[in-house]
């Protein structure tokens, strides 16, 4: 058995982000923070994808996380980065726990479409709520760190540092979870659920747990996105956003907990470049680049790092 290098690599990435962050140009710091937020959502999707489930409604929990953060600011004037992220995570997980009783019964396309339906219901509710600004949304208070508001030139780094620390902990915990008996059931559920049941494990329970974990991660990402961007709107629950998360997950591959973050970073990077080089046809550049990855790296970007060792 190979020594587990993932925690060390994760730690090294965190160290690099924390050390290089203050010297990086600000226009790099912001998309990296956004990529971490989206990477957290994709990390949750990866857990589901490992047992063969694709949720086309993960934007529901992303949006719940964001609106929890926004409402805490609006009603209680809370603005701590960690408070908002954790609150977003808690509300998303609680919602997923309830919906999970229904969703854990379904597989394949039924699971995908049902999750999509829930996110579109939430979108519809937000659009009808005129006091929350309907489709225009509302501003989220500027972030603070442990009650201190960093100076304007440091606030982006502070949020990046907070985000990467939280993502580090989340990735480490998910990595540990995937090695527990419950976590490692995923490929078995994907291959043959009946055998899993014969072994004495409950597939439905395992999926319910995974669904709640995935939602918690999406809520965490949503809370982070809200405090980073400073504005939230119902579009965050729209199905195209869910599609983007699925895309990042597939682009990244399911090989390792680092993969979703790498996928999100590359996705944001390509989009940034595409916007700059061809403002009129950026979608084509983005689509072309992503198509190329699918054609040449069918198992996702992560296969680049694995081919040498495993295969």
């Amino acid at each position: 058995m190979r020594p587990d290098r993932t925690p060390w690599v994760l730690g090294a990435i965190l160290a690099v982000l924390l050390v290089v962050g203050p010297f990086a140009p600000l226009w790099v710091v912001f998309p990296v923070t956004i990529a971490i937020a989206k990477g957290l959502v994709a990390l949750g999707l990866m857990i589901l994808l490992r047992c063969g489930l694709v949720s086309f409604g993960q934007a529901l929990y992303y949006c719940i996380g964001a609106y929890t953060a926004g409402m805490l600011g609006r009603v209680f004037e809370l603005d701590g980065v960690f408070t908002l992220m954790l609150a977003g995570m808690a509300v998303a997980a609680a919602t997923a726990y309830v919906l999970g009783f229904l969703l854990a019964r379904y597989r394949g396309i039924f699971f995908g479409l049902l999750s999509l339906a829930f996110s579109m219901i939430f979108y519809g509710l937000l659009v009808k709520s005129e006091t929350l600004g309907s489709t225009d949304g509302f501003n989220v208070l500027p972030s603070t760190l442990f009650g201190i508001r960093p100076a304007d030139e440091w606030v982006r780094y502070a949020v990046l540092a907070a985000a990467s620390s939280v993502a580090f902990v989340a990735a480490l915990l998910v990595h540990r979870y995937l090695r527990t008996p419950l976590g490692s059931l995923a490929p078995a559920i994907k291959d043959n659920e009946i055998r899993v049941e014969y072994m004495g494990a409950s597939a439905r329970y395992a999926i319910h747990v995974k669904y709640v974990i995935a939602a918690a991660l999406a809520g965490l990402g949503g809370g982070l996105a809200a405090t980073t961007v400073g504005h939230i709107d119902p579009e965050m629950a729209y199905w195209t956003v869910s599609g983007e998360f699925v895309f990042i997950t597939i682009l990244a591959g399911t090989g390792n907990v680092i993969a979703p973050f790498l996928g999100a970073l590359i996705f944001e990077g390509i989009r940034n470049v595409a916007f700059a080089v061809s403002p009129n046809t950026w979608q084509m550049v983005l689509g072309g680049a992503l198509l190329a990855v699918i054609v040449f790296l069918p198992n996702g970007l992560w296969s680049l790092f694995r081919r040498g060792r495993a295969a």
């Binding site: 226009w27 659009v127 949304g137 700059a276 009129n280 680049l304």
Partner: protein, 426 residues
């Protein structure tokens, strides 16, 4: 394997170089970030005409070909350089791109934004990055009602003006109106437009009855059920803030069923569709252009030059989005040059431009614009409404009524909704 890695590495390196090149520019020209919808449903009616307007205005300014008082080249003699960005992709993407414009491309000023959601999301970021940002089209009055901004300006009136102007026009056109109805898209623009119109009508006609307010989903495309309800409502006046595809679908579906014969239909943004559907819109439909633009633009030297130049280049007359874009660029130019004059002819700092912009009065192709409300950051303009009338097969507007800026806009420091509820008190 080795080759794949090298390939990926070189692609990544190339990707990193592109923005780096953009930074290495000469400091002398003034870089203007222009943000408007280049894709998606809002691109056709608003985004692309606005982009065309920005292109032609900046080109003409650089050539010194714009009539007085804008005949100086560029802004105060300094050439303008446009950096174009698509407004699609949602607020997160827009905030990222705004930061890219400021921190990577080092633009001096950003002019843009059609969606109110974009404007609300961008305004605090503009303030954080201390970048002069001029909104040209978005409608929500919330921007300067919820917060004071130093770096943010809007050179077009808010959507409140469209609804209040429509209500005043109804008063002139149908003084005996008793029943009204609405058909608006179920999103912020539609909800706010109808909300302001309904409130205004209740102020002007205290006994007015609201038969129905239909709120179909955005981009629904099929309105037969709504049209049936509106036909049954037997309303004297029907208000709709539909735009582009939805507006066209509604006109095509409502025409054959006689809705336009039964009720006076007020289309607050009808101008963007009136030429395209000239043979489908019957006479007598009330058409708005979100201000004194397009067919309602004044007959002055600047407008004659503008509409002729635009028509010449793009083979269509400029619509209101195009007017508003040019208005935003010319307003920024006016502020810039006023600041430069005060600075002894030297290039002004952004703070000086802002000081000159606050409470500025300037003239655009749509007439006089006064930065009178929102502590001098929000423009007010007059507005106009009229009804369609075909003359020799060509679409025109007749029975045009103009409403002065103070009549259709709230005074400084008063929220739009409160102003309407208090009977439009000045």
């Amino acid at each position: 394997m080795q080759r794949t890695r090298k390939l990926v590495a070189s692609i990544a390196a190339a990707a990193l170089c592109v923005p780096a090149l953009a930074v290495a520019q000469d400091a002398a020209p003034i870089k203007v970030g222009v943000v408007t919808f280049l894709s998606g449903p809002a691109a056709g009616p608003f985004g692309v005409p606005a982009r065309n307007a920005a292109e032609i205005t900046i080109e003409m300014l650089n050539g010194g070909k714009v009539p007085k008082p804008y005949d100086q080249k560029g802004f105060g003699g300094a050439r303008l350089q446009m950096v174009l960005v698509d407004e699609s992709g949602g607020t997160t993407t827009q905030v990222t791109e705004f930061r890219n414009l400021v921190q990577r491309d080092n633009v001096d000023v950003v002019i843009g934004y059609i969606s109110s959601g974009s404007c609300l999301g961008i305004a605090p970021v503009a303030e954080e990055l201390k970048t002069l940002t001029v909104f040209f089209d978005c409608g929500t009055p919330r921007i300067f009602e919820e917060r004071d901004y130093k770096y943010v300006f809007r050179t077009s009136s808010t959507a409140t003006m469209d609804s209040v102007g429509a209500a005043l026009y109804v008063k002139d056109l149908k003084p005996n109106a008793k029943v009204i109805a609405g058909l608006n898209q179920n999103y912020a623009w539609g909800q706010d437009s109808w909300g302001d119109f309904e409130l205004s009508m209740k102020q002007i006609f205290p006994k007015i009855e609201v038969a129905t307010s239909q709120m179909p989903k955005l981009f629904a495309g099929q309105y037969n059920a709504e049209i049936s309800t509106l036909l049954n409502a037997k309303a004297d006046v029907i208000h709709s803030s539909f735009w582009d595809g939805d507006l066209e679908a509604f006109i095509l579906q409502a025409g054959p069923r006689g809705l336009f014969k039964r009720s006076v239909v007020v289309l607050t943004t009808g101008e963007t569709a009136m030429y395209k559907l000239a043979d489908k819109i019957p006479d007598g439909v009330v058409i708005g252009a979100r201000g004194p633009y397009g067919p309602y633009a004044p007959d002055n030297e600047l407008n004659k030059w503008y509409s002729a130049t635009f028509q010449d280049r793009y083979n269509v007359p400029p619509n209101y989005a195009a007017y508003q874009m040019t208005q935003a660029i010319l307003g920024t130019k006016a502020a810039w040059e006023k600041a430069q004059a005060a600075n002894g002819g030297k290039r002004p700092s952004i703070d000086q431009v802002i000081a000159a912009f606050e409470r500025l009065t300037f003239t655009g192709p749509g007439g006089e614009v006064r930065m009178a409300i929102g502590k001098g950051h929000q423009a007010i303009t007059e507005t106009a409404y009229g009804v369609t009338k075909k003359v020799g097969g060509k679409m025109t507007v007749a029975n045009v009524k103009r409403y002065p800026a103070e009549t259709v806009n709230p005074p400084d420091g008063v929220k739009a909704a409160d102003w309407i509820k208090n009977g439009f008190k000045k």
